[in-house]
C-alpha cells in the first residue's frame, strides 16, 4: 500500500506541478497542457468529420437507397445517430476526464482486458491505417488533376502520402499549438468549399433546377441489407464524432466545452452534409451521380468552370486537415495506452520542451507509412472497420453498465438511458449486417488478429527495453512517472482527486 500512496501523492503533485511550473516559467513535470478551447474543439470535430467522405460517399448512399429522397433521409439519420453516439461520449467524457477516447471508458466499464484489446486494435491497426488511408486519398486528390483520364502512378500517391504523413507527424511533434493552427486553417478551408458548394447549389435551386427532387421517393430501395449499406457509407462520412474524447485532458473547462462542442459541431456537420447533397442533386441526376468517380469534382466541373480546379484543391485541404486531426487523436490514444501500461511504456512519454506525445506520434506515423506501402491495403483495412463499430457499441454498453456499477460517479452531463441503448442496438446491426450479408473469411482473420493481441498482453506490459532510455533522451521525452497507471484499485481515487484538482 505504500507504493499506492506514493503514486497518488505524485499524481496529485503532477497537476499542481504543471500549474506551478507554468507560473514560474520553468516547467517541472511534462504533461499535456490544457490549451484546447471551445472553438478549437469544434474545429477538431468538424475538421475530422469532414474528411473526404462528403465528397465521395453520396454515391454509395444513393446506391443503397435508390432514390434522392431516401438518400437525403439517410444522411439526416446518420447525423442524428452520430449525435446520439456523441452524446453518450459526452457523458462518458465528462464523467471520466481522461484522454484516450474509448480506452478509459472501456477500462472503467469492463476492465483491463477489453480495454487492452481496444487499444491493441486501435493503436496497431485502426488509427495508423485510417491515417494512412486519409493520407493516401489526400495524395490521390492532389495528383489526379495532373493525370486527366487515367490513374496516377502508384509511386506518386505513395510518395505524396508518405510526405503528408511525415509533415503532419513532424508538425504534431513540434508543437500542439502549431497542430491546432493547421487544424483550424484546414477546417476553415473545408468549410469554405462546403459553403461554395452549398451556395452554388442554392443559386441553382433558385434558378429552378429542381427536376431531380420531383417524385424523389420513387424507385426507393426497400431491402434491409442495402439500406444498411447506405447507412454504413453515410456514417463513414460522419466518422470522427468521437474525436474530442481522445483529448479530454487537454480541453479547457471540459465539463462545459465537451458537450457544447458536440452539440454545436455535429448538427453543424449534418446540416452541411444535407445541403451539400442537395447541391449535388441540382446538377446531377441520380444516374449521373452514381457514375461520377468523385462527386464533388464533377460538381465543380459542371458548375464552377472556369474555377473548377478549386474543388480538388480544397478536397486536398480537407483530407489533409482530416489526416492532421486523425494523427492528433491517434497520438493521444497511443499515449494513454502506453501510460496505462498497455503498450510499451515509451509511448506514454511526453516531450519536455514541446509538451507533445512525440513517441506516440512517431510510432503512429511510422506504422502509417508502413501501411501505405502495400498495394491493396484498403480492402484489408475495410474489413477492420467492423471492429470500429464493435468498440463504439461496447463503449456505449459501458455507459449503461456504469449507470449500475458506478452510481456514485459525478456525472456533469447525464443523458437519458435510451440514447446509449439505441446506439448499442444500431452498432450491433452495423457490425452484423455486412457479415451476414456477405460472410467472408477475412472477418475471421480480423477477429483472430484482435483476440490474438492477448498473446502480447503480458510481454508488452512486463518486458522492459534497455534501448528505450537512449531514445528517451534523444527525443527529449521523459517518462510521465507522476501519472499513475489506471490500476483497478487506484482509479477511483485518482478520479476523485482529479476532480478535486479542478474544483
Amino acid at each position: 500500500m505504500d507504493g499506492e500512496k506514493k503514486k497518488t501523492a505524485t499524481n496529485n503533485g503532477s497537476i499542481k506541478g504543471v500549474v506551478e511550473a507554468k507560473k514560474q516559467g520553468q516547467p517541472k513535470a511534462a504533461a499535456l497542457q490544457k490549451n484546447v478551447g471551445l472553438l478549437s474543439s469544434i474545429c477538431l470535430i468538424v475538421g475530422t468529420m469532414i474528411g473526404s467522405g462528403i465528397f465521395i460517399s453520396p454515391k454509395s448512399v444513393l446506391e443503397g437507397t435508390g432514390a434522392v429522397g431516401p438518400s437525403l433521409c439517410v444522411w439526416a439519420a446518420c447525423g442524428v445517430l452520430a449525435t446520439l453516439g456523441a452524446l453518450c461520449y459526452a457523458e462518458l467524457g465528462t464523467m471520466i476526464t481522461k484522454s484516450g477516447g474509448e480506452y478509459p471508458y472501456l477500462m472503467e466499464g469492463f476492465g483491463p482486458v477489453l480495454a487492452y484489446l481496444y487499444s491493441w486494435t486501435t493503436v496497431i491497426v485502426l488509427k495508423p491505417s485510417s491515417f494512412a488511408i486519409i493520407a493516401l486519398s489526400c495524395a490521390e486528390y492532389a495528383s489526379t488533376p495532373f493525370y486527366p483520364g487515367c490513374t496516377p502512378p502508384q509511386v506518386i500517391t505513395k510518395c505524396l502520402a508518405a510526405a503528408c504523413i511525415l509533415i503532419i507527424t513532424v508538425v504534431n511533434c513540434l508543437s500542439v499549438k502549431l497542430a491546432y493552427r493547421v487544424q483550424n486553417f484546414f477546417t476553415a478551408a473545408k468549410l469554405l468549399i462546403i459553403v461554395i458548394i452549398v451556395v452554388s447549389g442554392i443559386v441553382l435551386l433558385a434558378q429552378g433546377n429542381t427536376q431531380n427532387f420531383k417524385d424523389s421517393f420513387t424507385g426507393a430501395s426497400t431491402s434491409f441489407g442495402t439500406i444498411g449499406l447506405a447507412f454504413y457509407n453515410g456514417l463513414w462520412a460522419y466518422d470522427g464524432w468521437n474525436q474530442l474524447n481522445f483529448i479530454t485532458e487537454e480541453l479547457k473547462n471540459p465539463y462545459r466545452n465537451l458537450p457544447l462542442a458536440i452539440i454545436i459541431g455535429i448538427p453543424l456537420v449534418t446540416v452541411c452534409y444535407i445541403l451539400v447533397n442537395i447541391a449535388y442533386f441540382t446538377v446531377m441526376t441520380p444516374v449521373e451521380l452514381l457514375q461520377s468517380p468523385a462527386v464533388a469534382v464533377t460538381f465543380g466541373d459542371r458548375v464552377l468552370y472556369p474555377l473548377s480546379w478549386v474543388v480538388p484543391l480544397f478536397v486536398v485541404f480537407s483530407t489533409f486537415g482530416a489526416a492532421n486531426g486523425s494523427c492528433f487523436t491517434a497520438g493521444r490514444l497511443t499515449y494513454v495506452a502506453g501510460r496505462e501500461g498497455h503498450m510499451v511504456r515509451i509511448l506514454s512519454y511526453i516531450s519536455v520542451k514541446r509538451y507533445t506525445p512525440a513517441p506516440a506520434l512517431m510510432f503512429n506515423g511510422i506504422l502509417s507509412i508502413i501501411y501505405t506501402i502495400p498495394a491493396d491495403i484498403n480492402t484489408l483495412i475495410n474489413y477492420f472497420s467492423f471492429a470500429q463499430w464493435v468498440f463504439y457499441g461496447l463503449t456505449c454498453a459501458a455507459l449503461i453498465v456504469m449507470r449500475f456499477t458506478r452510481k456514485k460517479l459525478h456525472r456533469p452531463v447525464k443523458i437519458p438511458i435510451i440514447i446509449p441503448v439505441v446506439v448499442v442496438i444500431v452498432s450491433c446491426y452495423l457490425v452484423l449486417a455486412p457479415i451476414i450479408d456477405k460472410p467472408e473469411i477475412e472477418y475471421l482473420y480480423c477477429t483472430v488478429f484482435i483476440v490474438g493481441g492477448l498473446l502480447l498482453y503480458v510481454p508488452l506490459i512486463h518486458f522492459k527495453f534497455n534501448w528505450i532510455r537512449h531514445i528517451t533522451i534523444m527525443t527529449e521525452v521523459p517518462p510521465l512517472m507522476n501519472t499513475p497507471r489506471c490500476s483497478p484499485r487506484g482509479r477511483l481515487t485518482r478520479q476523485g482527486r482529479l476532480r478535486q484538482g479542478h474544483e
Binding site: E20, P145, C159, L160, A163, V287, R469
Partner: protein, 672 residues
C-alpha cells in the same frame, strides 16, 4: 540485452521508477524547495553522477540530452526527416512533370461498331434494337472493349437504314424508346463503356419537318436545303449522287430542284446557312448533355458544295455526258471537301470540348471521309497546329488489302497512313464496316486471324465491325433490302449486314422471331458463333480476346514504338518495343503462302524468340530468328527480351505517336 551491461541503475529501472529512491528524491526536492530548482552548476554536478535510466527526472534527462552523442543523432534524424519529406515531395513533382500525357479511353480500347439492326433483337420482331444491345454488353467485357460505336438509331423512314433522319432528337420506334436509350447509356457507363453515336450532318430524310417546311417555303426553313431553279427533266448541272444518277430532284410543291448527294429521300442540308449550322450544333449539345461520349461524323466531305454550280469534269472526257451517272465517272472538285468544311468541324470540336472538361470524359470525334488517293485531305481532319478537329479520321486504307493480298501490300497500306499522318497524331485501322464487304470474304477466311492480329498489334486504335471477332463472312441474302443494292445488286451492302451470330439456336440466337429476321442468317451460324467459339481456346474470338487483353496490358503494344522489320510477297513483319522495357514483341503475319523467314540480319533481335500466340496451332515454343516458319494466313506474335532497341538504329523505319520511356524501378512512364 547482455547481462554484463546490467548495472545497479539498470536493476533499479527494472523495478520501475516508483520505487527508485533516487527518482523520489529528485521528484520531491522541487516540491519542498521549488525556488532552488534551476540548472545551477551545483545541480549539474549532482546529476552527472547518475547514469541515465528510465524514470529519470527531467533535469537529468536534459543534462544527458545536451551531450553530443544524443544531440547530434537527434539533430541529424530531425533534419533527415525534413530532407526525406522534401525529397518525397520533390520526387512527386518530378514524376508529375516528366509524365507523358496519359492515353484517353478512345486510345486505350478498340472501337467496336454495332449495326443496331443486326446486333441483337430483344422483342422478336426480327430486327435488332437498343434493349438487345443492352442485353449483350457482357460481350464487350469479354472482348476487353470499352468504346462502342452504334450506327444510327434516330427516328427515320429507313430508306437508307437510319442514315436518313426524320428527327435527330428521337429514337426510332423500331429500335426502342428514349427511355431504352437512357437505360442503355446508363448501363454502359456503369460498366465503364463509352457510347459513340453516329452523327449525320450532311442530310436529313425528306420526311424531316425542316424539309417539309422548306419545301412549302416557310421561313426560316426556306433555305435549310439547297434549292435551285430547274425544270423537271433538266437538272442544273452534271453532278451525280453517290448512289447513282443526278444529285438534283425536282420538287412538285416548290417547283424547284433540291440537292441530294445520296438518295433522293436524303436532301442535303444547306451548310452555307448559319441557321442550319446552329440547328445541327444544338443537336450535338442535346446528345452530349445526355452523356454520349462521342460522335462518328458521317460523310462530312459532302457537307458543302460550290455555289457556282459548274459542271464537274469527267474522268473520261470522251464519255457521252448523258451516260455519266455514277460517282466514279466525275472528279468531284465542286461537291466534295469544299472550303469552309474544316471551320464547321473545328467549331463543333470546340462545342464538344466544353463537355470534355471532366477528367475521363473526353468527347470523342471521328470523321468518316473516303478520300482514296487524296490522303492529305483525310489527314486534314486531324486538325492543324492552331485548331484541333477530330481525334482521328477513319483509316480506310486497309480495306484495299484484299485487292492484292501480300506481305508487301500490307506494309505498303500501313505505311500510307503512317507516313502521311501528322507527327504526334494517333493512328487507327479499319478493315470493315457496314458499307464494305466483310474482310473474311474479300481477303479469304484463312486470313481472318492474321488480319485481326495485325489490327490489334498495330499502333493506334483498331476498329472492329461486329462479327469480325468471330470471322463472319458476307452472306448472299435472298431479298435485297439495301436501297443502294436495289439500284445495282452488285453494290448491295446487305451481305455484310446480316445478323450477329450468337449461338447455334434459332436465328443464331439473334432473335426469337419464328418468321425469320430482316436479313437472312449466315448458313454457317451453327459453327461460327460466339457461344461455340468462346468454348474453344483456339477460336478466332478467343485469340481476339487474348490480343485485346495483351494490348491493354503491354505498354509496348499500347504506346510503344512500331518498326517495320521485313516485308515480302508472303510475310509482313514488324516489332513493338518500349524504351526501358526489356519485353518486346515481334509480329510476323503471313499474307501469302507457307514460307520461312530469316531475320538473322536484324542484329537487335535476340537469337531465340518465344511464341506468345500463334493463330494456327504449332508445337514449337520458341523460334530461332534465322528460321521463322509461317503457313498461309498464320499470324505469329513472338515475345523476346533484350536491352537493344531497334528504333534507335532505324529511325526511318519506326513510328511512335508520343515518345515515352518506362522506368521499371518505379513502374512509371516519363517523357524522353
Amino acid at each position: 540485452m547482455s547481462l554484463t551491461k546490467i548495472t545497479n541503475i539498470d536493476a533499479l529501472e527494472l523495478e520501475d521508477g516508483v520505487q527508485n529512491a533516487a527518482f523520489q528524491e529528485d521528484e520531491d526536492r522541487p516540491h519542498s524547495e521549488p525556488a532552488i530548482v534551476s540548472f545551477t552548476g551545483q545541480e549539474e554536478v549532482a546529476y552527472t553522477q547518475i547514469k541515465p535510466y528510465a524514470g529519470m527526472p527531467k533535469e537529468v534527462l536534459m543534462l544527458y540530452s545536451k551531450q553530443a552523442r544524443y544531440r547530434v543523432p537527434r539533430e541529424i534524424l530531425f533534419w533527415l526527416i525534413i530532407v526525406c519529406t522534401l525529397v518525397l515531395i520533390g520526387v512527386t513533382i518530378a514524376i508529375v512533370a516528366l509524365s507523358p500525357r496519359c492515353l484517353s479511353w478512345w486510345q486505350v480500347s478498340p472501337v467496336y461498331q454495332v449495326y443496331p439492326r443486326s446486333f441483337k433483337d430483344s422483342n422478336a420482331d426480327g430486327v435488332g434494337d437498343l434493349k438487345g444491345i443492352k442485353e449483350k454488353l457482357s460481350h464487350f467485357d469479354y472482348l476487353n472493349i470499352k468504346a462502342i460505336w452504334i450506327s444510327p438509331f434516330y427516328k427515320s423512314p429507313m430508306r437508307d437504314f437510319g442514315y436518313d433522319v426524320e428527327d435527330f432528337r428521337q429514337i426510332d420506334p423500331l429500335f426502342g424508346t428514349m427511355q431504352d436509350f437512357d437505360d442503355l447509356l446508363a448501363s454502359m457507363h456503369d460498366k465503364g463503356l463509352k457510347l459513340i453515336m453516329d452523327y449525320i450532318p450532311n442530310h436529313t430524310s425528306d420526311e424531316h419537318i425542316w424539309f417539309q417546311l422548306s419545301r412549302n417555303g416557310t421561313e426560316p426553313y426556306k433555305d435549310y436545303y439547297i434549292w435551285v431553279n430547274c425544270t423537271e427533266d433538266k437538272p442544273p448541272n452534271n453532278w451525280v449522287s453517290v448512289f447513282g444518277n443526278s444529285t438534283w430532284e425536282y420538287d412538285e410543291t416548290r417547283k424547284q430542284c433540291y440537292f441530294h448527294q445520296f438518295l433522293k429521300e436524303q436532301p442535303d442540308l444547306n451548310f452555307r446557312n448559319p441557321l442550319v449550322i446552329q440547328e445541327m450544333t444544338d443537336i450535338i449539345h442535346f446528345w452530349l448533355q445526355k452523356g454520349v461520349d462521342g460522335f462518328r461524323m458521317d460523310a462530312v466531305k459532302h457537307m458543302l458544295e460550290a455555289k457556282h454550280l459548274r459542271n464537274e469534269p469527267q474522268v473520261d472526257p470522251d464519255q457521252d455526258p448523258s451516260t455519266v451517272d455514277t460517282e466514279f465517272e466525275l472528279f468531284h472538285d465542286y461537291t466534295y471537301s469544299q472550303l469552309g468544311l474544316h471551320e464547321i468541324l473545328t467549331n463543333w470540336r470546340v462545342e464538344m470540348d466544353i463537355y470534355s472538361r471532366e477528367p475521363g470524359r473526353h468527347r470523342f470525334m471521328v470523321i468518316e471521309s473516303y478520300d482514296y488517293e487524296e490522303i492529305e485531305k483525310t489527314m486534314r481532319y486531324y486538325g492543324t497546329s492552331y485548331a484541333t478537329e477530330s481525334d482521328f479520321p477513319f483509316n480506310f486504307y486497309l480495306l484495299d488489302l484484299p485487292d492484292a493480298l501480300s506481305g508487301n501490300r500490307a506494309k505498303e497500306l500501313v505505311d500510307v497512313w503512317m507516313k502521311n499522318m501528322p507527327e504526334g497524331k494517333w493512328p487507327n485501322w479499319v478493315v470493315g464496316n457496314h458499307d464494305k464487304p466483310r474482310i473474311a470474304t474479300s481477303a479469304g477466311r484463312e486470313y481472318v486471324r492474321a488480319i485481326n492480329m495485325m489490327l490489334l498489334t498495330l499502333p493506334g486504335t483498331p476498329t472492329t465491325y461486329y462479327g469480325e471477332e468471330i470471322g463472319m463472312v458476307n452472306v448472299n441474302v435472298s431479298v435485297i433490302q439495301d436501297p443502294f443494292g436495289k439500284f445495282n445488286p452488285n453494290n448491295s451492302r446487305d451481305p455484310q449486314r446480316t445478323p450477329m451470330q450468337w449461338s447455334d439456336k434459332i436465328n443464331a440466337g439473334f432473335s426469337d422471331n419464328e418468321t425469320g429476321t430482316w436479313l437472312d442468317i449466315a448458313p454457317d451460324y451453327d459453327t461460327v458463333n460466339v457461344e461455340a467459339q468462346q468454348a474453344d481456346s483456339n477460336s478466332i474470338i478467343s485469340q481476339y480476346r487474348t490480343l485485346s487483353l495483351l494490348r491493354g496490358a503491354e505498354l509496348a503494344l499500347s504506346r510503344g514504338w512500331f518498326c517495320y522489320v521485313r516485308s515480302d510477297t508472303n510475310v509482313f513483319a514488324y516489332l513493338r518495343e518500349m524504351d526501358g522495357k526489356q519485353n518486346a514483341f515481334l509480329v510476323v503475319l503471313n499474307f501469302g503462302e507457307d514460307t520461312e523467314t530469316d531475320l538473322l540480319s536484324v542484329s537487335e533481335l535476340p537469337d531465340v524468340l518465344t511464341v506468345h500466340l500463334s493463330t494456327t496451332p504449332i508445337n514449337q515454343k520458341t523460334f530461332s530468328k534465322s528460321r521463322i516458319p509461317t503457313s498461309k494466313g498464320q499470324g505469329l506474335l513472338l515475345q523476346y527480351s533484350t536491352n537493344k532497341r531497334f528504333h534507335s538504329n532505324h529511325a526511318s523505319e519506326c513510328y511512335v505517336s508520343e515518345k515515352a520511356c518506362y522506368f521499371p524501378a518505379l513502374d512509371i512512364l516519363y517523357k524522353c
